[in-house]
Symmetry: C2
Subunit: 718 residues, 2 copies
Amino acid sequence: WRARTQCEVLQYVILKWTFAFLVGLFTGLVGIIINVAVENIAGAKLMYTAKLIYSNQLVLAFSLVTGCNVVLVLCSALLCVYLGPAAAGSGIPEVKAYLNGVDAPEILSPKTLFVKVLGSIGSVAGGLYVGKEGPLVHIGACIASLLGQGGSRKHHLTFSWLRLFKNDRDRRDLVTCGAAAGVAAAFRAPVGGVLFALEEAASWWRSSLLWRTFFTTAVVAVVLRLGSNWCRVGHCGLFGKGGLIMFDVSKGSSTYGFPELFAVMILGLSGGILGSLFNALNTRICIFYAKNFNLKGPAAKIFLACFVAVVTSVCCFGLPWLAPCRPCPQLTLPYECPTYDRSGNFKSFHCPTGQYNDLAGLVFTTNDDAIRNLFSTGTQKEYHYTSIIIFFVASYIMALLTYGIAVPSGLFIPVILCGATYGRLIGMLSTTMYDLKGLDEGVYAVLGAAAFLGGSMRMTVSLCVILLELTNNLSMLPLIMLVLLASKTVGDSFNMAIYNLHLKIKGFPILEAHPEPFMHQLTARDAVKSPLVKFSPVERVGNVMHILRTTKHSAFPVIEEPLSPKATFAGLVLRSHLLILLKKKDFYFTRSSSTMSCRKISSGEFAKPGSGKGLTIEDIEVTPEEEDMYVILHPIINASPYTVLDTMSLAKAYTLFRQLGLRHICVMPRKPEGEPILGILTRHDFMHDHLLSIHPHLRSSLLKDRSFLRQASSDRHP
Amino acid sequence: WRARTQCEVLQYVILKWTFAFLVGLFTGLVGIIINVAVENIAGAKLMYTAKLIYSNQLVLAFSLVTGCNVVLVLCSALLCVYLGPAAAGSGIPEVKAYLNGVDAPEILSPKTLFVKVLGSIGSVAGGLYVGKEGPLVHIGACIASLLGQGGSRKHHLTFSWLRLFKNDRDRRDLVTCGAAAGVAAAFRAPVGGVLFALEEAASWWRSSLLWRTFFTTAVVAVVLRLGSNWCRVGHCGLFGKGGLIMFDVSKGSSTYGFPELFAVMILGLSGGILGSLFNALNTRICIFYAKNFNLKGPAAKIFLACFVAVVTSVCCFGLPWLAPCRPCPQLTLPYECPTYDRSGNFKSFHCPTGQYNDLAGLVFTTNDDAIRNLFSTGTQKEYHYTSIIIFFVASYIMALLTYGIAVPSGLFIPVILCGATYGRLIGMLSTTMYDLKGLDEGVYAVLGAAAFLGGSMRMTVSLCVILLELTNNLSMLPLIMLVLLASKTVGDSFNMAIYNLHLKIKGFPILEAHPEPFMHQLTARDAVKSPLVKFSPVERVGNVMHILRTTKHSAFPVIEEPLSPKATFAGLVLRSHLLILLKKKDFYFTRSSSTMSCRKISSGEFAKPGSGKGLTIEDIEVTPEEEDMYVILHPIINASPYTVLDTMSLAKAYTLFRQLGLRHICVMPRKPEGEPILGILTRHDFMHDHLLSIHPHLRSSLLKDRSFLRQASSDRHP
């Protein structure tokens, strides 16, 4: 692109910002659509059920809840299993993997986008213990990716003027913006979205990206604001104030001293333990699901999803009966007691007039409303110990069981829900048993949510800002920081963050930020595959075809031998470029054809294709006559790839590979004898398991390292 | 350090976190000390002057103000000129340069720290239009650097157990924490501090650093909270609620529609213009100062500082006489009118009872209080147009004149002051002339401050978060984002951010994030210096001494020639390591001494020295006999430096150099003939001016590029 004119540069810049704008716009709109749909479906379901309970038709009420939930979850699971399997789960691991450079097909395809939107409406409205937040991040990334590719070639939606974006980095930048927009749309947290993209999603970060991501999330914020203003007038059915989650606890702050800090510290530490326990158990459950259901075909997956939906419905309808009716407390506005409607803190459920069921306010409602109730301030002694404990156990178990089934399912909401319940419990203990009046129970609930999020997801600044933007109370900042510090530290000493665990389960070849310690004991030469497959600058077509068919390498070195006294490394050619060259059939009869004659290939043709597989060797048909002709590789040779000396420590080579986001490194000999190039290192050559399999002696030395110290030292620099 | 034991790793990890804690603790304490000192000195000065004015002793009052200011500024300037010249100015450019890899001596030395603390007390208390925010960033960085070096060797404060931190990256990480702590201490903005370090200060960023920086700023937040609680009881003299700046505008938000958004947009755009104009004028003034004062010796510098102090005092005392006395409005608490004390919105100054002077509330007060008055909500029509316009012009001019004199001077406060005044003006216009009641005048003032900051400093997310944390009003987020987007975009089309301009003026060899476009037209070979100075693995001492004396290179290639058919590149040796080796006088009589005998050098001896100059060649004395002996370089050879092929585009080599934070890249020949290494590229070889001086033909092609497009394309990837 060195040859681009100023006009093209200008076009590029304008396009870049237009795309950032469009990503924000579309993600915001999709966020509103999902919210409106969920609130209307779930709201209608709960309203009719509440009416049936009020008129004492309990069996009918139970059937209605269960029926609705199963149908909704079934639809979601059917879509997920048959149309877009990549849409299952939260989607954040997939986005992380893509931004780390893993080009798995379908991760960000239009199908996945479609399934993710409809599926998450189904699973959230179906009452499962899942959120729409993770899926929104994935949706934002999908939208960004589709825009960046200029639509989908498969679905005939391409635009030639989007040609400028046909490279990895531009797409990755756009997808980063998309992920940020997703968080911004999910939590109404524009700054939190930027920080999430920075801290959790992106593997490479540039300062200019911060600015563009910020623009995207600002667009999302404006879209959401306009959308919720429009809905407030009554255009969106049951979607009221609740819709876009926003838990206002701005009244809950007051002065606090050391006893409160002590309680908060305990909350943080125990939250870290429970959060990491969640990670450990959920990982095991997911592996169990994978072995016993996913391998047995689509029917088993769908059965599992429906089973979880039934169990959830039983919880939703059955648990409130465990709690006795309590008389309504004397409260000021805005609390009403009891409410017969779908929202409100004090649900009537089956109780007589003037009484309420505290558990119903938590389980017989949407997750967003349950969280809002837990976070509500000025509602001391609303919940009883047994109710809170029952709900905590139920939500913890259900969250564990649900994340892993074949529906789009976010993790934020269930973790926040468990954490808020736990926090409220601690808050009730400290305000009543130890008589600490400094902090409201609602504030403890927020801190509990922070503790669980920190213990499970291990984000720091981004979580902190998301929670602040959610709760609209800046004075809680030091407390949230304290809790996050405690819970993350405790969690890190047990296991990895849940998204990283899921990345491992899914088997994506992720490049961690730092090399593994054992890589210091290897040199670049130790990781090189042999034998080396190489080309000449002018190569027989049959040879090229044969090599492409028999190997799976994505790049090949080109070696020049003709006139110089020694063979010289000419550069690197990519498999994808070779395939395009072969497809063009620009072949010659002799080796000596001038290189001038073939310089008619425009760079656009070599642009990276979209998320599909692109050309494969099977797509190319070559006649036997053509096989004996020659193809000139000069125009596609990358004459200056990044190189390392063979004596360089593998850890150093890894750093180069990872920091620059490379796909190939050439290993050059330090001594000029022998081959001019020893080999090519790719992502797979740096994988932990691969290296250990070719150097088994490292395994023993590795066992001596304990996980804590390994982590500590991988935290350090190469 | 490959050989470190687990125990050492543990020690390292503990040390790392302890340092992060200590940096937060000390920075927080210094922040409190500076605040208490400034509030007491400036408060006493203003209080006595107000009393003198009240008793109508105007000449005495004027002499008191002027005398105090000149003495305070004089002390500050004397310290700055004679003891620590590096402490002049804001310090943020210096911290940026250090974190970019510029090892200028004295930037972070103990002397600089000392002068910065005392000097900024003097200059802020002396009434200058400067802030303590930038200096606090520098102070945080100095504290971190001193801790990281294990004290100062020059001042005999070293600790041997801090040996583990003797490398560039660990120190840079710690200094990043220090910079974040500085912002956190300055604005009571822990999250904003982290983001500032990320967006503005650091050139390299790692995810684990985010976490540690966050910890540091959390410590600062706790220290500040404890400190201000302690002060509230009355332990800190005049330091009251005002002290640590915190401008609460949480009551100023309300609904706003498109007319308000239009006004805000205009505010953002014009703020961008005025902000970039500020940058342009201030740069010219600084160059003027440098030519006409700084070159004429210390006396001229001190005279300039005192002159500015006198002009500031005249403004402070003289301007209020331009505004007529106005009757006090009927206001609710917490406003009192008029006040005779040092703070409060409605200053009596010389007015009769029941009247106030609106200009006195802005100029005859500390800058923090003036900002607080401008930001105050619910005080419509407090200021008159003429007063606001007079103050805007005065503060804009004074801020321009002040930043550049030889005292520690932060830029945040003057820019916020100008911006808030301008914003209040726009707010007054839109609320009274166009009758837009949606936003409070105080909110417009905050947005004006955002517009000026965005237009001058060009930060985005960090400024946004700092302003949110300062004003404690999350609902202003979309407005602040909008203003920042507008003002930064406008500003970027005129010139660079002010800190970057000052970096250029100071001549630090900064590596920008992206290569210049013209670098794509050069190859690595084009940038190589010739002739190449090289060593053999076993070298004559006289030779080494001669080369070290006659060149200034910081690294030399070692070439092996003995047995192999061709010369081989053995690796790189650093000048600093050579000096240490020579200092040890581990010399041999023959070339063939076994390399085994010299393996007794511990890695600790080769640790990077502190901020001082370290060993120089002048420190080493070698007798003529020793000159004929040999020194074995094997133990200090870095056998696997990062390399590039000579045909690689310079832009690609730059990316490698910049992203990995290297100090040297070896340029290797692609063809195996000739020398085994062509040269070494260092930071200076990548400098814009250097490259243009050796390739003058690029200058002409560069002129065709307009600055806008250059910036746009440098924004893109290599």
